[in-house]
Symmetry: C2
Subunit: 281 residues, 2 copies
């Protein structure tokens, strides 16, 4: 994991990533020419995908196809499973989301409002914070880069403490969150982007809070929740069609702009789900 992006990327094999594709030819009985699919594809214009059984056929095309890389794809599954299955929120609870304007975070915030929770998000620019409070509908949001004391910031936004934390960031923010959790709080951990490119991860000092407050901390990945997709679509598609869920995307055109978009994730350059469009969409 160390300095994974510090080295020059060498494209011996194409990078894999979640994408949307049109079937040109298939010997698999479930897929035929012209079908649209989403799943683990490759960073190339034409791909040979030897495990089509892992792809999911797209049945609903009245929504933007790019949504199948986000709200109807991995990000949506992650947000839905992580928030409802892992965190088990109750009405009126206090929810904190880090990386809140990202592919997953913006959905967790909206799901929290649908569940009757109070939700605050953190992000890394004024533009993102404004987006969270206006378009996406978080109750509050703050720019973590402008807070010298993250513990104090969380105490300002959560004087009663945090019941549910959706973790994407790790490091100092996680340490501050631990201090502000309420008894029996739940933390869904699906990533720690602040730590991926450090030569050594930052130490978390407040783990004793796990004991003192009887916290539940669950690491998870969307891959353990494939079975939840039909239930999730039944839940989410009506909201999308009625315009009751926003999904902010940051679309760059052309494979040649993919690497810069990828690296931009680690500096927070993107606003919303980062998508690279290869063909007309």
């Amino acid at each position: 994991m160390k300095k994974r992006l510090g080295k020059q990327l060498t494209f011996v094999k194409p990078i894999r990533g979640y994408g949307v594709a049109k079937v040109l030819d298939s010997s698999h009985p479930e897929f035929k020419e012209g079908d649209l699919v989403w799943g683990l594809t490759k960073w190339e214009e034409y791909s040979l995908l030897p495990n089509p059984e892992n792809l999911i056929k797209i049945h609903h095309t009245d929504v933007p196809l790019s949504y199948y890389t986000g709200i109807l794809g991995m990000a949506g599954k992650t947000a839905y499973a992580g928030f409802f299955e892992v965190c088990r929120p109750k009405k009126g609870e206090y929810v904190f989301v880090s990386a809140a304007s990202g592919a997953v975070g913006q959905l967790v915030g909206q799901f929290a409002k649908l569940a009757g929770c109070y939700v605050v998000g953190s992000a890394g620019s004024k533009e993102k914070v404004d987006l969270l409070k206006s378009k996406i509908g978080f109750d509050e949001a703050f720019n973590y880069k402008e807070e010298h004391d993250l513990d104090a910031a969380l105490k300002r936004y959560f004087p009663q403490g945090i019941d549910v934390y959706f973790e994407h960031v790790g490091g100092k923010l996680l340490d501050a969150v631990l201090l502000n959790m309420r008894e029996h709080g739940r933390m869904a951990m699906c990533g720690m982007i602040s730590q991926y490119n450090l030569p050594e991860p930052q130490g978390i000092k407040n783990v004793m809070q796990i004991v003192l407050k009887r916290l539940h901390i669950h690491g998870f990945t969307h891959r353990d929740y494939d079975h939840i997709v039909p239930e999730y679509y039944e839940f989410v598609l009506p909201y999308i069609r009625q315009g009751k869920l926003e999904y902010v995307e940051d679309i760059v055109e052309g494979l040649e702009n993919g690497p810069a978009a990828l690296v931009g994730l680690f500096t927070g350059r993107n606003v919303g789900k980062q998508v690279v469009a290869l063909a007309g969409h």
Copy 2:
């Protein structure tokens, strides 16, 4: 919590602790003179306990009364709830217990064997390690003070990794355990004795493992499991009566020896559950 024991103890009020007592007088309808009770009592020979509803009446006196400070008291409830309810062990799983010869750890190890698991304990002296392997019945045990590299030690005892960790210690041991957990592993956190007297807690670096291995980490206290006591007694009393569960106690006589026994917990002086006997037992 900082330097709590660094200051001189001043006995303005008697220390509270879990004890066994005989009722001398009571106006509570459930308790009468001569009854034996266990629960939160005080470090004094005669006590006025204004909340007797929190005490539990002792019905089984064919076992040592001191057991109600341990295997039939808080420690037993902690071990049973933490292992079976929090960790939900499956037959054949790999279990690691820190502070394994202590009041709770020695029980977790024996419960793990009853559940068909492979169990390894760590402790801080050769005497304790021998006790774990002989009398208490752990599959393996090691002296953490003799291991320069705790990660390597755990890899030696758990080449397949750890499914269940029962945590009492925290600090460097927790960091090493995180590296050695298996996917979907569970960690029951009921204490971190290595951290209580540090001016600042040690940072835990390997929290990313929670995400990578989809770990479940639950802080808990026996206080959330009062309802489990009848079920626990039904489980544990037959084993005690049949001599199928060992319970090692370290009994000092006399209240005047209590403070030294308390401080000894933090240097690991005691072997087994530390008990202070005030009256004949």
